[in-house]
Protein backbone atom coordinates (compact mmCIF):
# COMPACT_ATOMS: atom_id res chain seq x y z
CA UNK A 1 0.00 0.00 0.00
CA UNK A 2 2.75 2.38 0.96
CA UNK A 3 4.69 1.52 -2.19
CA UNK A 4 1.61 2.23 -4.27
CA UNK A 5 1.17 5.60 -2.57
CA UNK A 6 4.78 6.55 -3.16
CA UNK A 7 4.54 5.57 -6.83
CA UNK A 8 1.45 7.69 -7.25
CA UNK A 9 3.13 10.54 -5.42
CA UNK A 10 6.04 10.50 -7.85
CA UNK A 11 3.68 10.58 -10.79
CA UNK A 12 1.60 13.41 -9.44
CA UNK A 13 4.63 15.44 -8.41
CA UNK A 14 5.68 15.21 -12.04
CA UNK A 15 2.20 16.34 -13.00
CA UNK A 16 2.51 19.44 -10.83
CA UNK A 17 5.81 20.25 -12.45
CA UNK A 18 4.30 19.98 -15.93
CA UNK A 19 1.25 22.04 -15.10
CA UNK A 20 2.83 24.87 -13.21
CA UNK A 21 2.87 28.15 -15.02
CA UNK A 22 1.21 26.88 -18.16
CA UNK A 23 -1.82 24.68 -18.42
CA UNK A 24 -4.78 25.00 -16.11
CA UNK A 25 -5.79 22.01 -14.03
CA UNK A 26 -8.86 21.35 -11.98
CA UNK A 27 -8.93 18.81 -9.20
CA UNK A 28 -12.42 17.44 -9.72
CA UNK A 29 -13.97 14.97 -7.29
CA UNK A 30 -12.58 11.53 -8.05
CA UNK A 31 -9.36 12.88 -9.56
CA UNK A 32 -5.97 11.95 -8.21
CA UNK A 33 -4.76 14.77 -5.98
CA UNK A 34 -1.46 16.31 -7.04
CA UNK A 35 1.24 15.76 -4.46
CA UNK A 36 3.22 18.70 -3.13
CA UNK A 37 5.72 19.74 -0.53
CA UNK A 38 5.40 23.26 0.84
CA UNK A 39 6.88 25.06 3.82
CA UNK A 40 4.71 26.68 6.46
CA UNK A 41 5.17 30.04 8.19
CA UNK A 42 7.25 28.36 10.91
CA UNK A 43 9.63 26.84 8.37
CA UNK A 44 8.33 23.29 8.59
CA UNK A 45 7.86 21.29 5.40
CA UNK A 46 4.57 19.50 4.72
CA UNK A 47 4.18 16.79 2.09
CA UNK A 48 0.69 15.72 1.12
CA UNK A 49 1.63 12.11 0.34
CA UNK A 50 3.19 11.70 3.80
CA UNK A 51 -0.10 12.61 5.45
CA UNK A 52 -2.03 10.31 3.12
CA UNK A 53 0.37 7.44 3.84
CA UNK A 54 -0.46 7.91 7.53
CA UNK A 55 -4.13 7.44 6.73
CA UNK A 56 -5.03 11.10 7.13
CA UNK A 57 -7.78 12.92 5.32
CA UNK A 58 -6.44 16.29 4.25
CA UNK A 59 -8.42 19.53 3.96
CA UNK A 60 -6.83 22.24 1.83
CA UNK A 61 -7.93 25.83 2.29
CA UNK A 62 -6.67 28.54 -0.08
CA UNK A 63 -5.76 31.51 2.03
CA UNK A 64 -5.08 35.26 1.80
CA UNK A 65 -5.10 36.95 5.21
CA UNK A 66 -6.29 40.29 3.80
CA UNK A 67 -9.14 39.00 1.67
CA UNK A 68 -12.51 40.03 3.19
CA UNK A 69 -13.83 36.48 2.77
CA UNK A 70 -10.90 35.09 4.75
CA UNK A 71 -11.51 37.74 7.38
CA UNK A 72 -15.13 36.58 7.44
CA UNK A 73 -14.16 32.97 8.08
CA UNK A 74 -11.07 33.51 10.23
CA UNK A 75 -11.83 36.60 12.26
CA UNK A 76 -15.51 37.56 12.17
CA UNK A 77 -16.88 34.05 12.47
CA UNK A 78 -13.93 31.68 13.15
CA UNK A 79 -15.46 29.19 10.69
CA UNK A 80 -12.18 27.53 9.82
CA UNK A 81 -10.87 27.22 13.37
CA UNK A 82 -14.18 25.86 14.63
CA UNK A 83 -14.51 23.44 11.73
CA UNK A 84 -10.98 22.17 12.32
CA UNK A 85 -11.70 21.73 16.03
CA UNK A 86 -14.64 19.50 15.17
CA UNK A 87 -12.66 17.14 12.95
CA UNK A 88 -9.03 17.23 14.09
CA UNK A 89 -9.36 14.13 16.25
CA UNK A 90 -10.76 12.15 13.32
CA UNK A 91 -7.46 11.75 11.43
CA UNK A 92 -8.08 14.99 9.59
CA UNK A 93 -5.23 17.35 8.70
CA UNK A 94 -6.09 20.93 7.73
CA UNK A 95 -3.61 22.92 5.63
CA UNK A 96 -4.07 26.51 4.53
CA UNK A 97 -2.16 27.48 1.39
CA UNK A 98 -1.31 30.99 0.26
CA UNK A 99 -0.65 31.08 -3.50
CA UNK A 100 -0.62 34.85 -3.85
CA UNK A 101 2.42 36.06 -5.74
CA UNK A 102 5.05 38.43 -4.48
CA UNK A 103 3.75 41.99 -4.29
CA UNK A 104 0.11 40.91 -4.25
CA UNK A 105 -2.36 41.29 -1.42
CA UNK A 106 -1.70 39.01 1.54
CA UNK A 107 1.68 37.82 0.26
CA UNK A 108 4.80 37.35 2.37
CA UNK A 109 6.06 35.33 5.26
CA UNK A 110 5.84 38.08 7.86
CA UNK A 111 2.28 39.01 6.91
CA UNK A 112 1.19 35.39 7.16
CA UNK A 113 3.03 34.78 10.42
CA UNK A 114 1.13 37.72 11.84
CA UNK A 115 -2.15 36.34 10.47
CA UNK A 116 -1.51 32.96 12.13
CA UNK A 117 -1.08 34.81 15.42
CA UNK A 118 -3.91 37.34 14.98
CA UNK A 119 -6.44 34.75 13.80
CA UNK A 120 -5.12 32.12 16.26
CA UNK A 121 -4.94 29.65 13.41
CA UNK A 122 -4.37 26.18 14.87
CA UNK A 123 -3.18 24.57 11.62
CA UNK A 124 -0.24 25.31 9.28
CA UNK A 125 -0.32 28.07 6.68
CA UNK A 126 1.82 26.98 3.75
CA UNK A 127 3.49 29.39 1.37
CA UNK A 128 3.13 28.81 -2.39
CA UNK A 129 4.31 32.15 -3.85
CA UNK A 130 4.96 30.72 -7.30
CA UNK A 131 1.41 29.39 -7.37
CA UNK A 132 2.46 25.92 -8.52
CA UNK A 133 0.22 24.06 -6.10
CA UNK A 134 -2.62 26.51 -6.54
CA UNK A 135 -2.40 26.07 -10.30
CA UNK A 136 -2.25 22.29 -10.03
CA UNK A 137 -5.47 22.25 -8.03
CA UNK A 138 -7.16 25.00 -9.99
CA UNK A 139 -7.62 27.07 -6.85
CA UNK A 140 -9.54 30.18 -7.86
CA UNK A 141 -10.64 31.92 -4.73
CA UNK A 142 -9.74 32.54 -1.13
CA UNK A 143 -11.09 30.48 0.41
CA UNK A 144 -11.31 27.56 -2.03
CA UNK A 145 -11.64 24.23 -0.25
CA UNK A 146 -10.53 20.71 -1.21
CA UNK A 147 -10.74 17.44 0.69
CA UNK A 148 -8.27 14.65 -0.13
CA UNK A 149 -8.97 11.15 1.17
CA UNK A 150 -6.17 8.77 2.24
CA UNK A 151 -6.39 6.96 -1.11
CA UNK A 152 -5.15 10.17 -2.74
CA UNK A 153 -8.45 11.10 -4.39
CA UNK A 154 -10.18 14.47 -4.34
CA UNK A 155 -13.41 14.03 -2.40
CA UNK A 156 -14.61 17.63 -2.39
CA UNK A 157 -13.86 20.79 -4.37
CA UNK A 158 -15.65 24.05 -3.72
CA UNK A 159 -16.87 26.61 -1.22
CA UNK A 160 -16.72 26.42 2.55
CA UNK A 161 -20.44 27.20 2.80
CA UNK A 162 -23.46 28.33 0.84
CA UNK A 163 -23.43 32.09 1.42
CA UNK A 164 -21.30 34.05 -1.05
CA UNK A 165 -21.37 37.30 0.93
CA UNK A 166 -18.32 38.70 2.67
CA UNK A 167 -20.19 39.00 5.97
CA UNK A 168 -22.91 36.41 6.55
CA UNK A 169 -22.38 32.70 7.09
CA UNK A 170 -24.28 30.11 5.10
CA UNK A 171 -26.76 27.56 6.37
CA UNK A 172 -24.59 24.62 5.32
CA UNK A 173 -20.89 24.15 5.87
CA UNK A 174 -20.07 22.03 2.81
CA UNK A 175 -16.67 20.90 4.12
CA UNK A 176 -18.03 19.62 7.42
CA UNK A 177 -20.92 17.96 5.60
CA UNK A 178 -18.49 16.19 3.26
CA UNK A 179 -16.24 15.13 6.14
CA UNK A 180 -19.28 13.84 7.97
CA UNK A 181 -20.20 11.70 4.96
CA UNK A 182 -16.65 10.35 4.74
CA UNK A 183 -16.48 9.57 8.46
CA UNK A 184 -19.63 7.53 8.12
CA UNK A 185 -18.11 5.60 5.25
CA UNK A 186 -20.46 7.15 2.72
CA UNK A 187 -19.87 8.82 -0.60
CA UNK A 188 -19.83 12.60 -0.33
CA UNK A 189 -23.33 13.79 -1.24
CA UNK A 190 -22.28 17.27 -2.35
CA UNK A 191 -18.80 16.78 -3.77
CA UNK A 192 -18.56 19.94 -5.87
CA UNK A 193 -19.80 23.48 -5.39
CA UNK A 194 -18.81 26.84 -6.85
CA UNK A 195 -16.13 28.37 -4.64
CA UNK A 196 -16.48 32.04 -3.76
CA UNK A 197 -14.26 34.77 -2.44
CA UNK A 198 -11.41 36.95 -3.66
CA UNK A 199 -9.52 35.70 -6.69
CA UNK A 200 -6.22 33.99 -5.94
CA UNK A 201 -3.60 36.58 -6.94
CA UNK A 202 -1.28 34.50 -9.10
CA UNK A 203 1.82 35.94 -10.75
CA UNK A 204 1.05 37.41 -14.18
Amino acid sequence: MKKKLITRAILTVLAVGMLAGSAWAKAAPGDEAADFTLTDTAGQAHTLSNYLAEGKTVVLEWFNPDCPFIVKHHQTHKTMNESFARVKDNDVVWLAINSNAEGKQGHGLERNRKAVKDYAIPFPVLMDPEGKVGTAYGAKTTPHMFIITPDGKVAYNGAIDDNRSAATLGETNHVLAALHDLMQGQAVKVAETAPYGCSVKYAQ
Binding site: C67, R86, T168, N173, L179, H180, C198
Partner: protein, 271 residues
Amino acid sequence: MRLLLLPLLAWLLIGCGETPPEDQATPAPLPQVTFSHATSHQEAVPGQTLQLLWRFDMAPQWHLYGPGRNDSGFPPSVRLDLPDGWVAGPLQWPAPERYVMAGGILDHVYHGQLLLVQELQVPVSAAVGPQVVIPLQVDWLACKDACVPGQAKTSLKLTVAEQTTPSAEIATIEKALAAVPVPAPEGALTMTWSDGWVELEVADATGLAFYPDQDCLALADLVRDGEIDSGRLKLELGKAVAGQTRLKGILKQQLSGGVARHWTINIQPGG
Protein backbone atom coordinates in the same frame (compact mmCIF):
# COMPACT_ATOMS: atom_id res chain seq x y z
CA MET B 1 -14.66 8.03 16.27
CA ARG B 2 -18.42 7.67 16.47
CA LEU B 3 -18.52 9.79 19.62
CA LEU B 4 -16.57 12.46 17.88
CA LEU B 5 -19.12 12.50 15.11
CA LEU B 6 -21.88 13.62 17.45
CA PRO B 7 -20.78 17.21 18.02
CA LEU B 8 -20.08 17.56 14.31
CA LEU B 9 -23.51 16.22 13.40
CA ALA B 10 -25.19 18.42 16.00
CA TRP B 11 -23.43 21.46 14.66
CA LEU B 12 -24.47 20.58 11.12
CA LEU B 13 -28.09 20.11 12.15
CA ILE B 14 -28.21 23.34 14.10
CA GLY B 15 -26.71 25.07 11.09
CA CYS B 16 -23.88 27.45 10.94
CA GLY B 17 -26.04 30.38 9.89
CA GLU B 18 -25.25 33.45 11.87
CA THR B 19 -25.72 37.07 11.05
CA PRO B 20 -23.78 40.02 12.42
CA PRO B 21 -25.40 41.89 15.31
CA GLU B 22 -28.04 44.39 14.20
CA ASP B 23 -26.44 47.18 16.14
CA GLN B 24 -23.16 46.83 14.28
CA ALA B 25 -21.96 50.24 13.09
CA THR B 26 -22.41 50.96 9.41
CA PRO B 27 -19.02 51.20 7.74
CA ALA B 28 -18.43 54.52 6.02
CA PRO B 29 -18.64 54.42 2.23
CA LEU B 30 -15.27 53.44 0.85
CA PRO B 31 -13.30 55.59 -1.53
CA GLN B 32 -12.96 52.78 -4.08
CA VAL B 33 -16.64 53.27 -4.93
CA THR B 34 -18.87 56.29 -4.50
CA PHE B 35 -22.54 55.42 -4.41
CA SER B 36 -25.39 57.81 -5.21
CA HIS B 37 -29.00 57.47 -6.27
CA ALA B 38 -31.73 59.39 -8.08
CA THR B 39 -35.26 58.98 -9.41
CA SER B 40 -36.69 59.56 -12.87
CA HIS B 41 -39.40 61.89 -11.54
CA GLN B 42 -39.57 64.37 -8.72
CA GLU B 43 -42.82 63.05 -7.27
CA ALA B 44 -44.44 59.63 -6.99
CA VAL B 45 -47.93 59.42 -8.49
CA PRO B 46 -50.38 56.80 -7.17
CA GLY B 47 -50.84 53.99 -9.69
CA GLN B 48 -47.81 54.97 -11.76
CA THR B 49 -44.25 53.74 -11.97
CA LEU B 50 -41.01 55.64 -11.70
CA GLN B 51 -37.44 54.57 -12.33
CA LEU B 52 -34.81 54.43 -9.63
CA LEU B 53 -31.19 55.01 -10.56
CA TRP B 54 -28.37 53.44 -8.56
CA ARG B 55 -24.99 54.90 -9.51
CA PHE B 56 -21.60 53.45 -8.60
CA ASP B 57 -18.57 55.57 -9.50
CA MET B 58 -15.41 53.54 -9.25
CA ALA B 59 -11.88 54.80 -8.71
CA PRO B 60 -9.51 54.09 -11.63
CA GLN B 61 -8.72 50.38 -12.14
CA TRP B 62 -11.18 49.23 -9.50
CA HIS B 63 -14.02 47.01 -10.64
CA LEU B 64 -17.42 45.78 -9.51
CA TYR B 65 -18.89 42.41 -10.46
CA GLY B 66 -21.65 41.57 -12.92
CA PRO B 67 -24.65 39.47 -11.93
CA GLY B 68 -23.69 36.48 -14.11
CA ARG B 69 -21.33 33.57 -13.53
CA ASN B 70 -18.02 34.65 -12.03
CA ASP B 71 -15.14 32.79 -10.43
CA SER B 72 -14.78 35.36 -7.67
CA GLY B 73 -16.51 38.31 -6.05
CA PHE B 74 -20.21 39.11 -5.92
CA PRO B 75 -22.40 41.69 -7.67
CA PRO B 76 -23.76 44.81 -5.98
CA SER B 77 -27.11 44.32 -4.28
CA VAL B 78 -29.82 46.83 -3.37
CA ARG B 79 -32.25 46.05 -0.56
CA LEU B 80 -35.30 48.32 -0.28
CA ASP B 81 -37.50 48.34 2.80
CA LEU B 82 -40.72 49.15 0.95
CA PRO B 83 -44.02 50.23 2.53
CA ASP B 84 -47.05 47.98 1.98
CA GLY B 85 -48.24 48.04 -1.60
CA TRP B 86 -45.08 49.48 -3.13
CA VAL B 87 -43.37 47.03 -5.53
CA ALA B 88 -39.84 47.20 -6.93
CA GLY B 89 -38.87 45.42 -10.14
CA PRO B 90 -35.60 43.59 -10.83
CA LEU B 91 -32.34 45.47 -11.27
CA GLN B 92 -31.60 46.29 -14.89
CA TRP B 93 -27.92 45.58 -15.62
CA PRO B 94 -25.73 46.71 -18.51
CA ALA B 95 -23.41 44.19 -20.15
CA PRO B 96 -20.19 43.70 -18.17
CA GLU B 97 -16.69 43.23 -19.53
CA ARG B 98 -14.85 39.94 -19.66
CA TYR B 99 -11.96 39.94 -17.19
CA VAL B 100 -9.43 37.10 -17.25
CA MET B 101 -6.80 36.91 -14.55
CA ALA B 102 -3.68 34.80 -14.09
CA GLY B 103 -4.51 31.24 -13.11
CA GLY B 104 -7.45 30.94 -15.49
CA ILE B 105 -9.75 32.98 -13.27
CA LEU B 106 -12.64 34.49 -15.23
CA ASP B 107 -14.93 37.25 -14.02
CA HIS B 108 -17.33 39.64 -15.73
CA VAL B 109 -16.95 43.12 -14.31
CA TYR B 110 -17.55 46.84 -14.67
CA HIS B 111 -14.99 49.63 -14.62
CA GLY B 112 -15.55 53.37 -14.38
CA GLN B 113 -19.22 53.89 -13.73
CA LEU B 114 -22.02 51.37 -13.23
CA LEU B 115 -25.60 52.57 -13.63
CA LEU B 116 -28.40 50.26 -12.50
CA VAL B 117 -32.07 51.04 -13.01
CA GLN B 118 -34.98 49.59 -11.08
CA GLU B 119 -38.68 50.21 -11.62
CA LEU B 120 -40.80 51.24 -8.63
CA GLN B 121 -44.57 50.76 -8.75
CA VAL B 122 -46.50 53.24 -6.62
CA PRO B 123 -49.72 51.74 -5.23
CA VAL B 124 -53.04 53.29 -6.24
CA SER B 125 -53.81 53.55 -2.55
CA ALA B 126 -50.78 55.75 -1.79
CA ALA B 127 -51.96 58.85 0.09
CA VAL B 128 -51.25 62.11 -1.72
CA GLY B 129 -49.34 64.66 0.32
CA PRO B 130 -47.03 63.03 2.82
CA GLN B 131 -43.45 62.16 2.07
CA VAL B 132 -42.64 58.48 1.87
CA VAL B 133 -39.25 57.45 3.22
CA ILE B 134 -37.89 54.15 1.89
CA PRO B 135 -34.76 52.89 3.71
CA LEU B 136 -32.28 51.13 1.50
CA GLN B 137 -29.04 49.23 1.89
CA VAL B 138 -26.54 48.70 -0.88
CA ASP B 139 -23.65 46.22 -0.66
CA TRP B 140 -20.82 45.65 -3.10
CA LEU B 141 -17.36 44.21 -3.44
CA ALA B 142 -14.78 46.38 -5.18
CA CYS B 143 -11.55 44.80 -6.37
CA LYS B 144 -8.31 45.84 -8.00
CA ASP B 145 -5.13 44.21 -6.65
CA ALA B 146 -7.11 43.69 -3.46
CA CYS B 147 -10.81 43.32 -2.72
CA VAL B 148 -12.72 45.63 -0.39
CA PRO B 149 -16.39 45.23 0.55
CA GLY B 150 -18.47 48.38 0.65
CA GLN B 151 -21.88 49.29 1.97
CA ALA B 152 -24.20 52.28 1.92
CA LYS B 153 -27.24 52.70 4.14
CA THR B 154 -29.44 55.59 3.12
CA SER B 155 -33.05 56.29 2.19
CA LEU B 156 -35.19 57.33 -0.73
CA LYS B 157 -37.51 60.23 0.04
CA LEU B 158 -40.50 60.58 -2.26
CA THR B 159 -43.37 63.02 -2.12
CA VAL B 160 -46.63 61.47 -3.29
CA ALA B 161 -48.50 63.85 -5.60
CA GLU B 162 -51.21 63.80 -8.24
CA GLN B 163 -48.82 65.04 -10.91
CA THR B 164 -45.10 64.81 -11.44
CA THR B 165 -42.29 66.22 -13.55
CA PRO B 166 -39.18 64.50 -14.83
CA SER B 167 -36.08 64.93 -12.72
CA ALA B 168 -32.74 66.25 -13.95
CA GLU B 169 -31.53 62.62 -14.08
CA ILE B 170 -34.06 61.41 -16.63
CA ALA B 171 -31.52 61.49 -19.48
CA THR B 172 -29.03 59.45 -17.44
CA ILE B 173 -31.72 56.89 -16.67
CA GLU B 174 -32.70 56.64 -20.33
CA LYS B 175 -29.03 56.18 -21.22
CA ALA B 176 -28.71 53.43 -18.60
CA LEU B 177 -31.82 51.65 -19.90
CA ALA B 178 -30.52 51.87 -23.47
CA ALA B 179 -27.39 49.99 -22.33
CA VAL B 180 -29.35 47.00 -21.03
CA PRO B 181 -28.93 44.02 -23.41
CA VAL B 182 -32.03 43.04 -25.40
CA PRO B 183 -33.14 39.62 -26.67
CA ALA B 184 -31.55 38.53 -29.92
CA PRO B 185 -33.84 39.49 -32.82
CA GLU B 186 -35.59 36.62 -34.59
CA GLY B 187 -33.32 35.02 -37.18
CA ALA B 188 -30.29 37.23 -36.41
CA LEU B 189 -28.40 34.53 -34.53
CA THR B 190 -27.61 31.08 -35.89
CA MET B 191 -26.99 28.33 -33.35
CA THR B 192 -25.67 24.90 -34.27
CA TRP B 193 -25.71 22.14 -31.67
CA SER B 194 -23.47 19.11 -32.07
CA ASP B 195 -22.26 16.44 -29.71
CA GLY B 196 -20.83 18.37 -26.78
CA TRP B 197 -20.62 21.71 -28.57
CA VAL B 198 -22.71 24.70 -29.56
CA GLU B 199 -21.71 27.20 -32.21
CA LEU B 200 -23.11 30.73 -32.30
CA GLU B 201 -22.91 32.77 -35.49
CA VAL B 202 -23.81 36.39 -36.17
CA ALA B 203 -23.35 37.39 -39.79
CA ASP B 204 -22.30 41.02 -39.35
CA ALA B 205 -20.10 40.56 -36.26
CA THR B 206 -16.31 40.75 -36.39
CA GLY B 207 -15.96 39.48 -32.83
CA LEU B 208 -18.07 37.59 -30.31
CA ALA B 209 -17.96 36.97 -26.57
CA PHE B 210 -20.36 35.07 -24.32
CA TYR B 211 -21.06 35.98 -20.69
CA PRO B 212 -23.09 33.22 -18.97
CA ASP B 213 -25.83 33.83 -16.45
CA GLN B 214 -25.46 32.09 -13.11
CA ASP B 215 -27.97 29.41 -14.13
CA CYS B 216 -26.56 28.87 -17.62
CA LEU B 217 -25.79 25.28 -18.50
CA ALA B 218 -22.23 24.22 -17.74
CA LEU B 219 -19.55 25.23 -20.23
CA ALA B 220 -16.27 23.33 -20.30
CA ASP B 221 -13.73 26.13 -20.69
CA LEU B 222 -14.91 29.71 -21.05
CA VAL B 223 -11.42 31.13 -20.62
CA ARG B 224 -10.49 29.28 -23.82
CA ASP B 225 -13.81 29.44 -25.67
CA GLY B 226 -15.58 32.54 -24.42
CA GLU B 227 -14.24 35.15 -26.83
CA ILE B 228 -13.13 35.20 -30.47
CA ASP B 229 -12.21 37.71 -33.18
CA SER B 230 -14.73 36.27 -35.58
CA GLY B 231 -18.47 36.08 -36.12
CA ARG B 232 -18.53 32.40 -35.09
CA LEU B 233 -18.06 31.35 -31.48
CA LYS B 234 -17.83 27.66 -30.57
CA LEU B 235 -18.46 26.69 -26.93
CA GLU B 236 -17.71 23.25 -25.52
CA LEU B 237 -20.47 22.10 -23.17
CA GLY B 238 -19.51 20.94 -19.69
CA LYS B 239 -20.74 18.23 -17.39
CA ALA B 240 -24.48 18.48 -16.75
CA VAL B 241 -25.47 20.29 -13.57
CA ALA B 242 -28.92 19.97 -11.98
CA GLY B 243 -31.07 23.02 -12.61
CA GLN B 244 -28.81 24.37 -15.36
CA THR B 245 -30.36 23.27 -18.63
CA ARG B 246 -30.38 26.30 -20.95
CA LEU B 247 -27.76 28.37 -22.70
CA LYS B 248 -28.40 31.67 -20.92
CA GLY B 249 -26.38 34.82 -20.91
CA ILE B 250 -25.23 37.81 -22.91
CA LEU B 251 -23.68 37.63 -26.38
CA LYS B 252 -21.40 40.58 -27.05
CA GLN B 253 -20.89 41.36 -30.71
CA GLN B 254 -18.10 43.52 -32.00
CA LEU B 255 -19.19 45.29 -35.16
CA SER B 256 -17.20 47.24 -37.70
CA GLY B 257 -16.33 50.79 -36.67
CA GLY B 258 -15.58 49.82 -33.08
CA VAL B 259 -19.26 49.52 -32.16
CA ALA B 260 -20.45 46.80 -29.76
CA ARG B 261 -23.92 45.28 -29.49
CA HIS B 262 -25.25 43.02 -26.72
CA TRP B 263 -28.06 40.45 -26.93
CA THR B 264 -29.50 38.20 -24.27
CA ILE B 265 -29.76 34.51 -25.06
CA ASN B 266 -32.00 31.92 -23.39
CA ILE B 267 -32.18 28.76 -25.41
CA GLN B 268 -32.72 25.06 -24.73
CA PRO B 269 -29.96 22.83 -26.20
CA GLY B 270 -30.93 21.83 -29.71
CA GLY B 271 -33.34 24.76 -29.93
